[in-house]
């Protein structure tokens, strides 16, 4: 939208430089297409002796950083109005700006990728271009090949949204999350620690390529100058002096996802447009990954759904209920919890089967081994009705009709001793002064859920 409103441009020090007209031409060259970025780097993950969590090694410093912020409600115009009135962007946008500015000024050759609406709001306030999908293609499709690292600003919902962008991607980039308010379950860092968090993650693996880089020795070793030269000016050498050593790198919790497919009555996979596709092949082969849960629900229909449940290929029961949830351990504190399911630690490889308001006195939620495939089939007794299928809170778009099946498998994430592919690698927070990275789970349980809250007034 063209709005001729004079804008104030700020330098990094915050002083006002000059007035500049907001015109469409200068907008465009600040927003670039994500396709022009180099391909992403795939980090390696390794087990640590001192922790249940993994360590991460970048083969080279990450370059393409995706920033995902909390879905905000105010429209572009309202934000601009706020800006003009108060001289600053409201809340979240400011945080997004702070991080983006910090990264681009302190780390060379980093490209910031934003979602299209964020890009439109923020790009003119940054001294460098931002990247997004300018063509019609969805950001989620383009992001798989280009994003080295995803940074989220917001709560659990934002992390889920970022993960949904990679819902059809087998190899998800590491996710670094910052909480803008209460700390949730997913191990977010406090926003105030963003500098340290980003530095730790950025440098993770720097010591592996350069043996002498450590806190004690700021000079690069002569023997490795060749390696540096090969890496070029984008190597870690340009941020020399900031490495913390390999054993102080961030810890990664690899979260298992579920692989979900919707199948027609004759066994063919159905994609989100409702067309049956040939199995295997492109993204739209009906395979979607769920970080929290996949659920079937009657939606706005007043009648109950009748679903046949098969576990490991064998018929378990016929559920008459509002819906059924198949959840990961990560999702055990989401909808599954509301429906009465157990709370499962993310490191316990399992799959939860929880009914939603079953018409029974004796349907208890089940915890199954993660290797067990589960199938939910909509019974003919539903009399021609359809049910909704949602993954991580998002409707799949394609309703499930009688005879269709939802098939759920565990995502295979460990292919060898130190060969981790798949899962969502979440960078766990570390509080200053505490050696161990904590997986955030206990904190979330107590603060968010008020787990085992005592009787009586505090």
């Amino acid at each position: 939208m063209n709005i001729a409103i004079p804008l104030l441009r700020r330098s990094r020090r915050g002083t006002i430089l000059r007035r500049r007209a907001f015109s469409t031409t200068s907008c465009h060259h600040q927003i670039k297409d994500i396709d022009t970025l180099p391909l992403r780097l795939i980090p390696k993950y390794q087990e640590c002796r001192d922790s249940d969590l993994l360590s991460l090694q970048w083969p080279a410093p990450p370059r393409n950083i995706l920033l995902v912020r909390k879905a905000s409600v105010p429209a572009l115009v309202a934000s601009l109005v706020e800006f003009i009135k108060y001289g600053a962007f409201p809340g979240l946008c400011q945080d997004c700006l702070t991080i983006a500015s910090h990264i681009t000024s302190n780390y060379p050759s980093i490209s910031i990728i934003l979602e299209p609406n964020s890009a439109a709001e923020v790009h003119h306030l940054l001294p460098c271009p931002v990247y997004t999908n300018t063509s019609g293609t969805q950001l989620s499709e383009l992001a798989h090949d280009r994003v080295d690292l995803a940074v989220t600003l917001g709560g659990d919902g934002t992390i889920l949204r970022a993960s949904s962008l990679f819902a059809t991607c087998h190899n998800v980039p590491p996710v670094l999350s910052f909480s803008m308010g209460t700390l949730g379950f997913l191990g977010e860092w406090k926003f105030a620690e963003y500098k340290r968090a980003f530095r730790e993650l950025y440098m993770s693996g720097a010591a592996a390529g350069d043996r002498t880089l450590s806190l004690e020795d700021p000079k690069p070793a002569g023997a490795d100058q060749g390696a540096e030269l090969r890496m070029g000016p984008t190597g870690w050498s340009s941020v020399r002096g900031k490495s913390m050593g390999s054993n102080r790198g961030p810890r990664i919790l690899m979260r298992n996802r579920l692989r979900v497919g919707l199948f027609s009555p004759d066994g063919k996979p159905i994609d989100s447009k409702g067309e049956t596709t040939r199995p295997g092949g492109s993204i739209s082969d009906g395979r979607v990954y769920a970080l929290n849960e996949v659920l079937i629900h009657r939606g706005k229909e007043p009648h109950l759904a009748i679903v046949e449940v098969f576990v490991g290929g064998r018929f378990l029961t016929e559920a008459v209920a509002d819906g059924i949830i198949i959840s990961t351990p990560t999702g055990s504190t989401a909808y599954s919890l509301s429906s009465g399911g157990s709370i499962v630690h993310p490191l316990v490889a399992s799959l939860l089967l929880t009914p939603i308001c079953p018409r029974s006195l004796s349907f208890r939620p089940l915890v199954l081994p993660s290797s067990t495939p589960v199938t939910l089939r909509l019974s003919e007794k539903n009399r021609g009705r359809e049910v909704e299928v949602s993954i991580d809170g998002k409707n799949m778009g394609q309703a499930m009709a009688v005879g269709m099946e939802v098939r759920v498998w565990d995502e295979e994430i460990r292919h060898g001793k130190n060969d981790w592919r798949g899962g969502v690698p979440c960078v766990m927070r570390r509080t200053t002064g505490v050696e161990e990275a904590d997986d955030g789970w206990v904190g979330g349980l107590n603060s968010l859920l008020k787990f085992n809250y005592p009787f009586g007034e505090r």
Partner: protein
């Protein structure tokens, strides 16, 4: 417990009720220090539940409910009779077993120039009850009185055989089930037969009028005296003229009985339900014995039981055109419903009223996010429920959605309201059970992320916008149905064992 330093003044308004209640006793003049106080403003009605009348006069509740000519149902005349305060009432309610027609209590009620919400319906003396309704929200005292009276009446009725004079019978069959048309025809034929003690007028569903399986014309041919006695009802007739029917017979399951309750949004004639298939909770009679059952019912009388219904009023938030300075004035539902009332502006308007037999559910509907619902009881804000929804259920409905949501199973004679959250996102929500004199309100807060949807007995899904709320209270129109005379009780536990497999487990063998 006496505090000699303070004298608590007694202002006992309408103290005579206490004799009925048997509860709060009035200390006689002998004991001066311990006295009973009734809150003086429990007659007061909050602005959020008021309705502006046409002449804009000050709205005040009149103490007595004048006899409602539109509710000429026999049972409701008894209920009406009980309500009048003893200064104006008869000494005792009329003996039911000796009367076979609606009683007309000899009460002269002073015409009040001031109107109240409750009296609105009775102002219409024409036969048709208006289909648009106003809020009939009763004050706390009226509610307590009414609940007490219904309970009292129910107890008495449970041990009496009531002989009704039946002239008009309404026949309700399970909808959309073609196989039942034949059975409906059988019952209709039997009812219309000249062998019956008195000629009956039978109303069947309009869609059967031209249905070949029903073959109405052949029915008349076979039984010429039935000409003019076979009539048709549709879903408008029943709510508009409930007093046309003396008796209702249902064929089907619990769903059909529920539908019958839905048809009668005011008084309900006594309902006799035949079970056609599986055992139900409300269907007490086996279809195969229908001839003997109905013969005995008409000849010897029936035992009636009353089931509590809820009256649910949907209140819509009035949009204030003028917004205050700065950002739009932030309205707070909690403030509007229980806080101090500022100004004369009415914050809400009643939109619809429903009588329900099972439950009222406020839920997220098609929205993917949890709904946020404020829950109020009388003048107290209970909590904000973040969940898929809330289910407020009658004891009858405790085996419906309430069961699925994890609520308790309640015997139908319990005078309670069951409140259960549907998939609450806290670990500490337990279903609660409240007395039936509590007035509950469920509202969507102004800052809710999404709208919510309300459904009443599973029907009439209505979207609730931020600021709207639903009032739920015991209804003055309970559901009257016929119990088998031989088995006086409800045999409720037997039914839940059979249908729900309640506590069924392989019995552990003894050691030896």
């Amino acid at each position: 417990m006496t505090d000699s330093s303070k004298d608590i003044r007694v202002s006992i308004d309408g103290l005579v009720e206490s004799e009925h209640h048997g509860e709060a006793s009035s200390e006689t003049d002998g004991q001066s220090n311990l006295e009973v106080v009734f809150y003086p403003d429990f007659d007061r009605r909050r602005k959020s539940s008021l309705v502006a009348t046409n002449n804009n006069s000050r709205i005040e509740r009149s103490r007595a409910d004048p006899y409602d000519t539109n509710t000429a149902c026999f049972l409701h005349s008894l209920l009406n009779g009980e309500w009048i305060t003893s200064s104006e009432a008869l000494d005792d309610i009329p003996e039911p077993s000796t009367k076979n027609e609606p009683t007309t209590p000899d009460i002269v009620v002073p015409e009040s120039s001031k109107e109240s919400v409750v009296d609105y319906a009775s102002r219409h003396t024409e036969k048709d009850i208006p289909s648009d309704v106003q809020s009939r929200h009763l004050t706390k005292r009226q509610l307590s009185d009414m609940a007490w009276n219904v309970r009292n009446l129910s107890k008495r009725l449970g041990s009496l055989m009531l002989k009704l004079t039946v002239k008009n019978v309404l026949l309700v069959t399970k909808a959309h089930d073609e196989s039942l048309i034949g059975l409906t025809r059988e019952v209709t034929q039997w009812l219309l037969s000249k062998d019956r003690d008195a000629p009956l007028t039978v109303y069947v569903e309009r869609r059967l009028q031209d249905h070949p399986d029903f073959n109405a014309s052949r029915l008349i041919d076979e039984e010429p005296s039935a000409n003019g006695r076979l009539k048709y009802w549709d879903s408008k007739l029943a709510p508009e003229r409930p007093h046309m029917f003396d008796f209702v017979v249902t064929l089907g399951g619990d769903g059909t009985v529920l539908y019958t309750s839905w048809l009668f949004q005011r008084t309900v004639p006594p309902v006799l339900s035949f079970a056609l298939g599986s055992l139900g909770f409300l269907t007490k009679f086996d279809y195969n014995d229908f001839r003997s059952t109905l013969t005995n019912a008409f000849r010897d009388g029936v035992v009636i039981s009353l089931r509590l219904r809820f009256e649910c009023t949907v209140m819509r938030s009035n949009h204030h055109e003028k917004c205050q300075e700065g950002s739009a004035a932030k309205r707070d539902l909690v403030e509007e419903l229980i806080g101090e009332e500022i100004g004369d502006r009415l914050t809400h308007t009643p939109d619809k009223v429903f009588e329900i037999l099972n439950d009222v559910v406020v839920e997220r509907g098609p929205n993917p996010t949890m709904s946020s619902i404020e829950l109020f009881g009388d003048d107290e804000h209970f909590t904000t429920v973040q969940a898929d929804g809330i289910c407020i259920s009658t004891p009858t409905g405790s085996t419906a959605y309430n069961l699925a949501a994890g609520g308790a199973l309640s015997h139908p004679e319990n005078p309670v309201i069951l409140v259960t959250a549907i998939c609450a996102h806290t670990l500490s929500f337990r279903p609660i059970i409240l007395p039936d004199t509590v007035v509950l309100r469920m509202g969507v807060p102004y800052d809710a992320r999404t709208t919510s949807w309300a459904s009443f007995d599973g029907r009439e899904r209505i979207e609730l916008q931020p600021g709207d709320y639903v009032t739920v209270s015991a209804s003055r129109y309970p559901f009257a149905y016929v119990l088998p005379t031989r088995r006086r009780g409800e045999d409720w536990v037997h039914r839940i064992s059979k249908t729900l497999n309640w506590n069924s487990r392989q019995r552990q063998k003894a050691f030896k």
